[in-house]
Every structure is written in structure tokens, then in C-alpha cells.
Amino acid sequence: MRASAELALVVWVTALLASGSAAADFDKAALMQLLASVERASAQFVETRHSALLTAPLVSRGTLVYKRPDRLEKHVSFPFEARMVLERGQVTIDNPSRGRKMTLSIENAPGIAGLVESIRATRAGDLGALERFYKVDVGGSRGAWSLRLRPHDRELAQYVNAVTVQGAGARIERIEVVEASGDRSVMEIDEELK
């Protein structure tokens, strides 16, 4: 009978889907939960920018300090001194040698702020904040995951093609930004969690 054949098909497809999702035991929610468990983190980083404008990659070093839920500080100590603080939606970029200080808010400057949020919101396991700017995909396993962020915010998408965050467990190890210009920036992170 046709009706029972259809019913069998539905049961079979449903079973297949259920087993499929069971197989992917590591998804967005699981990763976010894992990342959100971290209260504080500090890290050494080395950032390398590959640009068609330059004859050699630009390398900078410094530290990252995170405090749950919404404070992130990036301190560049080499080859120049600079500090960037994201706190409660406000980004302050401070360049003491030039006496220049710039304050932006996530609301008015979705471009720069969106990029900074890719680090802060990932660290905080804040899926809502990530999805405000990006389409979020998770791959890999708990031991070696990768978080792929593709901007859907129009302004951010004009400058950034994708951000890929890689890590293991609750640790973030590498962040790669591919810009619309073709430039690429890779940040290697050695993180200590608390």
C-alpha cells in the first residue's frame, strides 16, 4: 500500500537524521558551552600580517588578557607599544607613542568592533554576539575544533571574507583573518586558562 510505504520512508529518514546528529557529538552549542566555562585567560601572541602592499610580513607580539564576560585587552609590546581594550561594547585603541587615543563602540563601528568581537565573543562562548556579525559554523572534534565565521554584516563583509578560529578543548590556539583585499593575518596564541 502506498500509505504504508510512505510511512516507512518517513521512519527510515527520521532514523537516519537522528543517527547523523548523534554522530556529530561536537556542535556549536557544545563548543560555546566549553568556551564559556573559562573565567579568565591570559596569553602570549604572535601576529603575522601578510600583505600585498608590503615587501615582508609584518610581525607583532604581545599579550591578550580576557576576563569573563566582556573584557578583552590586547597589548602589543613589539615592535611598537599599543593597547586595545574592549569593555562592555566599547573599543579603545591607545597608541601612547603617538599620543593618539580612539574610542569606538560596537554600535557605531561594526567593522572594527566586529573584528574585535570575533575574539572576545569566541572566548566568552557568546553565540548571540557572534551571530550578530557572522554566520557561524563549527567543525572538528572537541580535541581539535575549528570555528568558521563568515560576516553577514554588510559593512564588515566589505572588508573581511572570513575569520577562522582554531582550538583544542577550551583553549584558543590560532585565529586567521582573510580580508577582502586578499591580505591575511594570522595570530598564534599560547593561552593559559583560569
Partner: protein, 775 residues
Amino acid sequence: MRGTQKVMLAIWLIACVACSAWLYRNLSITTDLTVFLPRSATPEQQLLVNQLRDGVASRLILISLEGGADTALAGASSTLADRLRSNALFASVNNGDPDALQKERELLFANRYLLSPPISPERFSAAGLRSALRENLELLSSPAGAFIRPLLASDPTGEMRALARLMIPDGGPGKRHGLWFSRDGARALLVAQTRAAGFDVEGQRLAIESIRNAFAAIQPDGARLVLSGPGVFASQIRSTIEGEAWRLSALAAILVIAILFAAYRSAVTVAISMLPVATGLLVGITAVSLGFGDVHGITLGFGAMLIGEAVDYPSYLFTQAAFGERLDATLARIGSTLWLAVLTTVFGALAMVLSSFEGLAQLGVLTIAGATTAGLTTRWVLPALAPADFAPHRARAAPFDLSMLAIGGRSVRGARWFVILLVAAGLAVVLWRYERLWDNDLANLTPVSEATKLQDRVLRDELGAPDVRYIVVVRGEDREAALQASESAAAFLRDSVARGLLAGFDVPSRYLPSAKTQAARRAALPDAATLAGNLDAAVRGLPFREGLFAPFLDAVARVRSGPPLDADALRGSALALKIDSLLIRDGAGWAVLAPLRNVRAPQALGDAARAAGHQLLDLKAEANQLVNSYRDQSLRLIALGLLCITVVLAWGQRSAVRALRVLVPALAAVVLDVAILLLLGERLSLFNLVALLLVVGMGLNYALFFERPQADMAERARTQLSLVVCGATTLAAFGCLSLSKTPVLHAIGVTVALGSVLSLLLAAALAGRRDDSSG
């Protein structure tokens, strides 16, 4: 119908047809506030009117789309903006979409070396360039890297960044999906600038309607449309007032007709008793239209009210007709009193014709022509039109004896003392409360709710839209001088922002620097060879690709040899729109208007501006002052009018004592009216003043008829009946108006309703009882 009556009827018909035909072809009603400007206006007041007329702040409509997901709101914002941009009613529509400002960005980019304030010779020296290049490397390593990269090769000194900081100092409104949003993401925000001026209520209404229609056509799920801004308020106020005025007028008309019908028991009589006031209005408007060209809307409203007392003229005629008496005979009896009633109104208004405010002069002409016509119509047309079998019913007595009521059965002398004491108390109240007599704040008269005003403040704050109240003004003999003045005002305002007196400002010289400043910036640019040499020295040791900065060298060379930036180069862009609205012709010279944002310390800012040779204009204070000077002049003219009335009365009554007997009750009614209003906690405005003029007119009429020698008890009864009918109709009409929630209508209604009752009682108490007056 006798021969003269036929002639009069023919003249009336011809006059009505001629006036209707003239008005049909020529009537133009204006709402332009300049009509209400005295010819001796101060430059500030002229500027105020220009601002109301052309000011950019008054043309802005703030649009908020709320409710629903931000993606849906962003989609609605884009579609709405596209639709409105193709609508000729709007000069510009901005929703923050960077693509829509492509042309402006290109203009700014092409002219960056003429526009950017930090341009100086040092900036293009080897040291200056090296510092700029190092900064670029640092920025490339920062989260800002992706964003500065596209312009790095053509703008290594960061002039576009400097311009962005200048034009959107605090980053502008919040953004989502590349469009303006409130900071909480709950509302998509747009700003539309109408082509229609702010004062053009009809133009504003059309613009608002087309926004609503465009929104309805998009129909975003669950989203609501909220509009705000001066034009939105103006058209809201107009529709509120119109709606209430229609509703209350209809109610009043029904009540008045019911009262008249109860008095006459004849539909025809009720109908023809409307003729004098209708004819008076028709001729009055024609007279204003002939004399002034345009008729102001406010003249129409107030004028219709002022000659409203003409509704009473036929009442006097019909109720005074004795049983079986022909109207001609009645007129022969009461004619002189009726004429005196008309003449007092006409002479009272005569002074207004002389006013330097065109609005008041229009009002005077309308009243004089209207009242005269109403009088003539009552005298000559009504008897001709009255039904052949018009026969007054048996003398009907008023439902009660007014004079008995007023004096409470005591002797007239006692009643007079009582009234004198009452008026003295009233005067005392007025003097005691004199400080609080006038309402000097126009804002109290707007029916715009606090919630709506708050919403406007919130939207204005989110959008960083300019304050509509304060503006800094500087002037120059020609455009160049004005632009230089604009630059010095900008320097002053920058300091004031740093001192925290205000949040921000805008000036035309930002978009079009003076020729002097442009020349200085151009002179700071080195020639091609020097610049290339400096750049080579600066780049040495830094990892920039060879030849990377060729676009920069080209751009500087182009500006050095190119033409200066002028208004024509900006034509057709939003920048030109800005300049046109901020740099305006003002008399013989040019005025620069600097809109301000969030003025926190107006007093300190005003003082500092004066000290620096600039001027802070408080549009609200100027508007209040304008209306108050209108009010003060009205007061003086009313006093002059009262003098004229006294003379007319003394002549008409052939006795100063009898003139006073008419004048005193009317004035006493005004005093008590004002005293009671004050005790009720009301303050008086221009609108109360016009209402009081009507009270005086009515009071004089009541007193004239009470004071008229009365032959017998029957005549006295008829007089009381006519005054009760007149008083009741006025009370009914204006009592309805006093129910209004619109402050203006309420003020007029309360003042006149109260005044009509007081006038009637006082006229009865002070002027009545001829038989008793022995001296």
C-alpha cells in the same frame, strides 16, 4: 415687499454673488508666519522666520521602524529609503547606507587636500611623511588594519580619516547591517529632508502621508512606523485642532440652533437669522483678500470668532418684535441701539487696522467689514426675507427675571455696591497675580503630549540630529567673508565642545572652506619633485613595496594644479544641500547658520559666543518674544479701540453718564473674567486676548439693550428674552469649545463662555431697571 426692500435685496444678492465670485477666483489662504511679523522686526526675528521657512532642522522628518527582527527592519529600511529617494517630495533620505553616499565620498576623496584641517607643510616633509608611514604600519597590525588598507596607497597621511573624525565626530548613529539603528538594535532609523518648508503644513502633510503609504506598501511583519520632527508636530497639531474644531463646532451649531428654535419656533426664522453673520464673513474675507492679497489662516479663525457677535443681531430683532408688530416697526424702535452695537464693534477694531503686524491689520479689516455688513443685512435684508406671515408669538417672557437674579432682590444701589466690590476684588486679584498674568511660553499652547516630545528627544539623540532650538549665527558681506566667519565660528565651537558646553555642531565651511583657507592648504603642498624626494627619504627602511605610493603623488599634483573647490563642483550632492541650508542670503549679506547638538549650557555658550563676536540664537525665545510683542501691541491697540468706543457711545447715547453705564458693565465683565481665569490657575496668551475682545463686544451689546429706554413691562420682558437667547447661544457655542483638550481652543472657549455669563449678569445688574434710576 416694498420698493426699497426689493432694491436692498437685489444689492445684497449682487454683493453676495460678486464676493463669492471674487473669492472663488482669487482667494489664497496662507499659513506663512511672516504675515505676523512687525515691519520693524529685529534681524534675529527675520532670521527666525527664515529658519521656520527654510531652516534645515525644520525640514527634517525622523523616521523609526520598530518591532520585529533587526534583519527584517534593515530590509524595510532599505526598501523605504529607496522608495522615498525616488519621491520628488524629498530632497534627501538617509538611512546610513554607505552605498547611497558614494558620490559624496568620491567628492570628499578628490578634494581631501583642500578640505582636511590638519594640512600643513610639515605634514609633507620627509619627517612628517615618515611618521605617517610608521603610523600606517602600526594601524595595519591593529584590528583597524583591514579598514585602512584600501586607502593606504592613495592617502598615506590619513586625510580621509581626519575628515571622517570631523564630520562624524562620535561615530554617528548606531549601525547594524550597514544601516542606522538605535543602540539597542530595536529600531531602524532614517532621516528624510523634505523639499517643503517646515511652516508649509500642507507640504509636510503630503510628505508624511507618502512616508506612511510607502511603509504600508512594504508591510514589514509586525513592524511599526514612528515619525517625529517639527513638520510632523505641525501637521499633527493642525489635524488635532481641525478635528476638534469641527467636532466641537458641529456640537455647538446643534445646540445654538436648538436654542434659537426654542425661542422662535420657526425653522425659517432660524435659517434667516444665520444670514447676517454668513454675509458678514463673506464680505469681510473679500475685503481682506482685496486689501492684502493673501488671507492668513489665523485671520480667518479669529475673524470668524470676532464677528461671531453678529449672530446676536437678528436675535435682537426677532425677540424684540412685539406681538403682531411688523419687523420694520421693530427696527424703527431698536434701530439706533442696533447701530450703536455695530458701531462700537467697528470702532473697537479700527485701531487694529493701523497695526504694524499685518496679521492684526487683517483682523481689523475683517471685523470692520464683517460687522458692518452683518448690521446692514439685519437692518435691510432680514425684514425683506422674513416670511410674510412672520408674526411673533405672544410676548414670551424669559424663563426667569435676569435683573432680579443679578441683584438678588435687593435695591439697585445695594446691587451696584456689591458689583463695585466684586470688581475691586477682581482688580486686586489681577494686580496680585500680575506677575503670573501672561503665559510667555508658546510651548504651553501646543497640544503635543509630553510622551511625543520625549520620543522626539530620544530619536534626535540616537540620530545625532541637530537641536531645533539653538543655533549659532555669524554673518559676512559676501560668501567668502561668510565662509571665513564660519571657520572662526568653527574654531570657537570646537573649544566649546571641549569645554563640554555642547556635544557637537555643523558649519558650512566644513564642506566648502573659504578661498583663503583653500589657498593656504594648497600652498602647504610641495611640488612633485620635492614630494617624491621627501617620500623616498621617508620610506627608506620601511617594508612598503616599491612604487606603492604613486596614487598619492598623483593626487597631490592634481590638487596643486587643479581648480579650487567651489559650490558648483558639489552640485547635486548631499554636500551642496548642506551648504545651501547652512549658508544663506540674509538681507544685503550672507548668514552662516551653525546647527548645534545637545546644548548643555545655553547660558554659558551664549555668553562665550558673544565674547567671541558670534551670536547664539535661541529660536524658542525669539518666537516667544515675537508673539509677546504681538500681544503687547494688541493690548495697546485695544486700549486705543476702547477710547474710540467711549467716544462713539458718548455721541450715540448723547450723554457721558449713559455711555459709562454701557461701558462699565462690559469692562467689569472683562476684569472679573480675567480674575476668575487667574484664580483657576490659567495664564493669558494672545488667544485669550482676542477672546476678551469678543467679550467686550458682547458685553457692550448686552448693556446697550438693557440700557435702552423701555416703555413697559412687556418690552422689558422682551429685552430680557433677547438677551437670554443671545447669552445662551454664546454660552453654548463657547462652552463646547472650552471642552477642548487643545490649549488654544480651550483658552478661547473658557474665556468667552465665562465672559458671556458675566457680561449678561453685570449688564442686568448695572444698566437695567430704568424705572429705578433717578439720577
